[in-house]
């Protein structure tokens, strides 16, 4: 054919393929807002439930003690919803097969999908975390160390996006995938969840002499991210082609 590419036979760069995959995901989400809308609405509903659950707690100090755990429960449940939706477009018309037909390193597909999931989770957190503060912590006296929650939030979100991308790929063709993803994700991310709740709680409370726990928890979260994302990167080919 006349326009046969001069690049025929030449392999495209992995970065160019990564950019194409990521741009496609972002463009699609900006157009439909399916994933972001459902995640934000769900997060608002969880905040409403929290409001009802804590309506009888008069002492704001007690809420601060629970805040790390509450915040992470909100993030994990919202992430589950988003991760389940993240492959919906790929499976509806067999688009994932279309991608797999191309000479794309499967690890590049993982990286692009994990990045788009990370971006969507971050956007949702940027909306929901301030709302969490307004609804539940506005009357409380916050420790000066509270802004440090950003570190475990970033590390935790990276881990959830990475591991969640692998597990949601493994469950896309299964019956009851919504439940199965939750059954797989929560036990697998438990060490990360525990470390992030611990670090956030220390930052919220700001008690002198507990900062060793903060840094230890953060180190656990970083180590978890490195090990699990490297494993997910390596295993992705089997997950996506299985």
């Amino acid at each position: 054919m006349a326009a046969r590419s001069s690049n025929a036979g030449k392999r495209p760069s992995k970065f160019a393929q990564y950019r194409a995959l990521l741009t496609k995901d972002l463009r699609q989400e900006l157009r439909t807002r399916e994933m972001l809308t459902s995640m934000v609405v769900y997060a608002l509903l969880v905040l409403t439930v929290y409001g009802a659950a804590l309506s009888q707690v008069g002492d704001r100090v007690q809420v601060v003690a629970f805040a790390g755990g509450m915040l992470w429960a909100l993030i994990v449940f919202t992430s589950l919803l988003g991760l389940n939706r993240s492959f919906a477009h790929e499976t509806e018309s067999g688009c994932l097969e279309g991608i797999l037909l191309a000479p794309v390193d499967r690890a590049v597909i993982f990286l692009a999908k994990a990045t788009s999931n990370l971006i969507f989770l971050t956007v949702v957190e940027l909306i929901c975390v301030p709302l969490f503060f307004v609804f539940f912590l506005s009357g409380a006296e916050l420790a000066s160390t509270t802004p440090m929650i950003v570190l475990p939030l970033v590390m935790g979100t990276v881990g959830v996006a990475g591991v969640g991308t692998l597990l949601s790929t493994m469950t896309i063709d299964t019956r009851g995938r919504d439940v199965l993803l939750a059954i797989l994700l929560i036990p697998v991310i438990f060490p990360l969840l525990y470390a992030c709740v611990s670090a956030c709680s220390v930052a919220f409370m700001g008690v002198e002499g507990t900062f060793g726990t903060f840094w230890t928890s953060l180190a656990v979260a970083v180590a978890y991210d490195v090990i699990m994302i490297a494993a997910a990167w390596g295993l992705y080919e089997f997950a996506v082609e299985g």
Partner: protein, 245 residues
């Protein structure tokens, strides 16, 4: 082993694909000359789609050897991927993206950057250039199938696999798809086509070679020139009657 330029488009020996205890492909032997149009028939569960997925490099055979376009498909699948296109009853298109965006995306996966000249050419070929900016979900099933054909051609493949391409199409869309496939075939006589179909008449009208499968094995393989249509129909119906294990 044939060279990459001449010889067979597909050469498979002792191909086995095992799913647990079930053998979807059972010591399958297959040779398809370059430029041929092979139609694969058989009852449900005969292993037709499993074979097509193996040829599309979407599934690795458990055992056996597979050479596609003169390249060892089990050792160098990445080298072969740009040379193989797949058209299925599923469009493999993103409904919320336009035709142009879909083709640009798939073109980027093959070439790093979208090949706009080729995309323009393909949109004209499938007669969708006037709808290039419309979301694919607004297209009829027939239009989606034409765009899917364009998608399969972005890398100008030498081997085109068709998995029930007429499934779900109305008679007019079937005619348009036929016309389009005819044009694609005329453009490059060296291009090889392998089609899985339940439609005996459609498969027979296109084929230069035929393969009838049952229980993962080749029951019949041969050139159309040596086949009597009625005898072939009888054989096909007898094979369908075999069902699956």
């Amino acid at each position: 082993m044939p060279s990459e330029q001449g010889g067979y488009a597909v050469e498979a020996h002792g191909l086995i694909k095992q799913f647990g205890l079930r053998r979807a492909l059972d010591n399958l032997e297959l040779t398809v000359p370059r430029g041929a149009f092979l139609s694969i028939f058989g009852p449900n569960g005969a292993g037709k789609t499993t074979l097509l997925r193996a040829l599309a490099l979407l599934s690795r055979p458990t055992r056996g050897s597979l050479s596609i376009l003169g390249v060892n498909a089990l050792e160098e699948p990445e080298r072969l991927r740009p040379r193989i296109g797949l058209i299925s009853h599923r469009s493999m298109l993103y409904g919320d993206l336009s035709a142009q965006e879909n083709l640009e995306f798939f073109s980027s996966l093959y070439e790093g950057e979208p090949n706009r000249a080729r995309i323009d050419e393909l949109l004209r070929l499938v007669e969708l250039d006037h709808r290039r900016n419309d979301a694919v979900r607004t297209y009829s099933r027939g239009m989606q199938q034409r765009l899917s054909i364009a998608r399969s051609l972005v890398s100008d493949p030498d081997l085109i696999l068709l998995d029930e391409p007429y499934s779900g199409l109305d008679p007019h869309a079937v005619d348009l798809t036929d016309e389009l496939l005819g044009r694609v075939r005329e453009q490059n006589p060296q291009r090889t086509f392998i089609m899985v179909s339940h439609d005996l008449d459609k498969g027979f009208s296109w084929m230069t070679h035929a393969l009838i499968m049952a229980r993962g094995q080749a029951v019949f393989a041969g050139e159309k020139a040596g086949i009597d249509r009625e005898a072939f129909r009888e054989l096909y119906l007898a094979t369908v009657g075999l069902g699956v294990a």
